[in-house]
């Protein structure tokens, strides 16, 4: 039944916050691609769908479309807007992660946080890797929407929530209920959508590092740490940070870089909250 669900997914819905901004963009007289990019760049669900369509065999673009700005450039503003506004899937997928007790705004915050953390941390030691991992860090939690759907369909929300609260490892809980994890399901969708290999490979093993091939190991470890610290249950909580730092240490990363990055993010968040 899990198979069935993600085979149904043609497009992911936009988050409500994005919709408001898009409406405004649609009404504005100056439709600059940069403005549109700015809006959708914050929405992992739209970004994933746009990348999917831009990589369709139908267009036969010479190389894989790997960035959102290139996708907008190729598809055009009107089509990108249409994709963003597409309502086709709204009935199957809800934009709140009900099973995880997280609403779309909170999800929005967490994905932005993840991107910011990755940017801050990885740029301290590998700028090329940072560019490569920015999109995966931003998109890696997308599969949660499907898992949430499955849990709700099976009426298992209560026990699922309970297990999430009492268990530190979200992936383990997911595995117990739907026999797959967020990273696996995200990778499967992206594979089906023909997104570029690097993106898929770096996400696929995040929840099962032990079976990760060597050439993706570092990327996968980084994403796992980001996901641990900015986890959907307790993002940036002392405990999550502690776990993240421990992992970083065991994987052999310089924890100083990570600590710096976390402090930066916390500073920014505090500043953001105070204004």
């Amino acid at each position: 039944m899990n198979e069935l669900l993600y085979e149904k997914i043609d497009a992911l819905p936009p988050l409500p916050r994005t919709l408001l901004e898009l409406e405004e963009f649609k009404r504005s007289s100056d439709k600059e691609p940069e403005t549109l990019l700015e809006i959708i760049n914050h929405d992992p669900l739209i970004v994933a769908t746009i990348l999917k369509i831009a990589n369709s065999a139908m267009f036969g673009f010479k190389s894989h479309v790997e960035t959102v700005s290139r996708a907008i450039h190729l598809l055009g503003i009107n089509f990108t807007l249409s994709i963003a506004f597409s309502t086709s899937i709204k009935n199957t997928i809800k934009t709140d992660l009900v099973a995880y007790d997280v609403n779309s705004d909170a999800f929005f915050e967490i994905t932005s946080m993840s991107s910011a953390l990755l940017l801050n941390w990885v740029s301290q030691f590998d700028t090329e890797l940072k560019d490569e991992l920015l999109l995966p860090a931003f998109l890696q939690e997308t599969g949660k929407f499907l898992i949430s759907e499955i849990i709700m369909e099976q009426n298992k929300k209560e026990s699922f929530s309970h297990d999430l609260h009492t268990n530190d490892d979200i992936a383990n809980v997911e595995k117990k209920y739907v026999n797959t994890t967020t990273s696996e399901i995200t990778a499967s969708i992206f594979k089906k959508w023909n997104l570029h290999e690097k993106l898929i490979n770096s996400i696929e093993y995040v929840d099962k590092i032990e079976s990760c091939p060597n050439n993706y190991l570092v990327s996968t470890q980084i994403l796992n740490i980001v996901k641990t610290i900015c986890n959907i249950e307790n993002p940036l909580s002392p405990k999550s940070i502690q776990q993240g730092l421990e992992k970083a240490k065991s994987f052999g990363f310089n924890t100083l870089h990570l600590e710096n990055a976390i402090q930066e993010i916390q500073k920014k968040l505090a500043l953001h909250k105070s204004t």
Binding site: D10, M58, G76, L81
Partner: protein, 662 residues
Amino acid sequence: MYQKKVLSVSKKIDAIKEFSNNFTVLYVQNKPDKTILDKLETLFAHIVVAENEKDAIKEFLKHDISIMIVNLPNEASNAFSTIKKLKSLKHNLFILVLSSQEDTNILLHCIEHNIDGYIHTPFTLEVLTKEILKIINKYKLELKKYQSYANQYLKLFEKRNMISKTDLNGTITYVNDIFCKISGYSKKEILGKNHNILKHDDNPIELYKNLWDTIKVKKKPWKGLVKNRSKFDTTYAVETIITPIKNLDGEIIDFVAMRDSLDTSIDDKRYLLDRIEKNDFSILVMMQIDEFELLDKFYNPLTVNQVERNFAYNLISYLPTTYTFDYIYTLGDGKFALLTDFQSFEATQLNIETYLNEFVNNVKNSTLRFDDLEFDLNISVSYAIGHYMLYEDAKAGLEHTMEKKNQLSFSNDLSISVSQEAKNNLNMIKTVKIALENYNIVSYFQPIFNNQSQMIEKYESLVRLIDEKGDIISPFEFLHISKKGNYYTKITERVLENSFKILHKINTELSINISVTDIEKTHTREKIYWLLEEYKKDSHRIVFELLEDENVNDFTVIKDFIRHVKQRGVKIAIDDFGSGYSNFERLLEFEPDILKIDGSLIRNIVHDAYSKSIVETIVLFAKTQNIKTIAEYVENEHIFNILNELGVDYSQGYYFGKPEAL
């Protein structure tokens, strides 16, 4: 004329029963009489019994009563006032009065109230049947009258609408002429066939579900846009109303479908927009038969129409077999569209551009034949993908494709750039207006050198616009657009004024650009004559550079002008000679003193032998005609040396000097 033959009682009863099934009888019995009720029940299937007058009114309002039978009480006046009241409510209510009293007053009342039958009680069944039969015949007559009105209304409808009727099983039982015309079937072909024959697969299944649920279950009229398939496999989309026709008992007897025939011609566009709206994402392919306006000019409308129809009919076969678009939308004036939903096409893994290129080539390699005529038609194709502004994008793209003489273009966002362009144009027109008001249309002057003497012997006056920010705008950006805003003439006149004024500052010749269009304008012409008069002693220093134009309306005006100004010592130069429309024959009519060789030839002269030999020919020709030559775009020494070698008389270009304010 009715019932001339005497029928037996039982036959009369049968005749009544056959008809009385269709209506309800109200019996007002006043005093219960079982024998009367029995007799009535043998004749009527539906009897409502009222005990008294008051009761009668109540029952009358509850049922649809056709015949009322009143057994008069001893005191009858009350009964007659009720009869009067009910008659006023339903003027075609038939009334039979039964009375036991032999009272002439009652008979008079009956006549006064236009009662349809009167029987004295007690009576036999035979008497009753005879009287009822009379009433029923009257009833039938009334019905016919009503039907004749209804038929007249119906005829009016039929003239405008496409009408068909089906029975409960969907078998077509009636179609009108307009239906035949649009569907392509004759009455003979279509009557007795199931309505499915018109069904088009494009209509969503939900449409049919909703339709049947409305008309069969809810028994209500249904309205919607339906696509139907004609006999010739073409498709027509029509706004359709289907109404279940019910009998007196509320049972459906058949369905009548009505469509407005006037809509069918414009329906394709509406249908297209409707489908785009319903699809999540679509691929819209819009095409135009190339040079359709020529077709329109050379053939009669009937043939053109036939070309369009035949072309549309064949379009499907021109499409590559790897994917089928199932419907051709005819948009008029040689325009057609194809639409499919994005997902279906995407599932095929086909490349859209490859697919459409093959289509364009198939059209190119085909010949349309009918009635001994052959047409080799080509098409320009624009396609857009998406949802929002899809039609606008494809349409703007099609215009763009035709303009650029491309065959195929991907048109996403084209409507944005078109509106952006319109906005820019509007802004530029505003800028021109402001510049005119503030005398910011100015003239720059570029020196022209004599190749022999190496001296500045002329200047060319070149127009510039200074915008509100103080930026200098070149004529390429504003001159063409000014024509749309009707500022062009004003600019020309401003240029003339500026240029003539500068004659005081320089002592060389001055070259001023004027177009054939300028000369054709009386006002501009008179302005020039006036200026030449004003600057009489300097007019021999004026050179008019004429730019040829393909749209010369009246060449005698131009010739007269040239003669007129030449008499005042003005010289004539031909601008951009060697490119565009200039030709040697026309040249002589202008009687030029100077030829300005086209800049594109000069710019390439160092590397392009072809350009060089054209310039050589022009110089040779000019020399024999005693015409001087000027080379433009002389950007460096290399160019200059070659020109000198070829014997060109004058040079103009950055190598010698930029246009500047004097």
